[in-house]
Symmetry: C2
Subunit: 155 residues, 2 copies
Amino acid sequence: MITNLNPIGIIHSPYSTKGATPIQGSFCPEGKGTVEVFAEYQDGLKDIETFSHIILLYQFHRAGEIKLVRPTFLDDEPHGIFASRHPCRPNGIGLTIVKLLSRKENILEVSGIDVLDGTPLIDIKPYIARFDCHPEASEGWVSGKKKRPKPTGRE
Amino acid sequence: MITNLNPIGIIHSPYSTKGATPIQGSFCPEGKGTVEVFAEYQDGLKDIETFSHIILLYQFHRAGEIKLVRPTFLDDEPHGIFASRHPCRPNGIGLTIVKLLSRKENILEVSGIDVLDGTPLIDIKPYIARFDCHPEASEGWVSGKKKRPKPTGRE
């Protein structure tokens, strides 16, 4: 068991409800947010501004009941939680890739944010296309699934 | 504080020492490993085999001292830990993208693995190019840094 996982900051976004939060940032690239890194971790941001994109790991702090198989926001058919990016998952850690617009000390302005306002930040990693970009990847069951409103009542 | 983060499985790799472990999977795409998901989480793998690439989140379980600014495996100049993928970081969670070769029940065969044998698995997410592939991303300070042996003694 891993304990003592402590947030290193807070993500501020325009989204105060689950329904308003985009399913994925690429569905709402214009959505801007700020990533506030706590002052004691600010030194760890050195050179972050050399990257155009960053990976945020965060806590799904308002996730509901964990189910291993369930319908998702993009499909009414049930899929395994590890074949989905759904928030209600074991070890509820979310991952999103955002565009880094600017940095002022411990505050990062980003776009393409898709998390709830007030989300606890766990980690920031640089996005490096050479390591992280796989255009040949299949889209699996997500292929052809397009942006749609989140089905109501679907935690 | 987030507690009760429990491994959902174990990653088996050919790499038993830090020195032998590739800096990034894309530097050693032929490296094969297996991802063993514990039986109680197996149902969550439903439809995972429809994806060619998956994202693994794992624990840097043998990481050394955390430093916010340090030289990295790819560069002798110091960089902020959040501008680096270095293992010795707050909330030591690693991220790697691997190719999914096959699934047999709760065992996933993958290639491009870059973690130590016996690494605790925290989460699996499908890699979806529409969300995760950003070929336009800058490479920041990593630009031009090529595969090299890990500098000795550099935790």
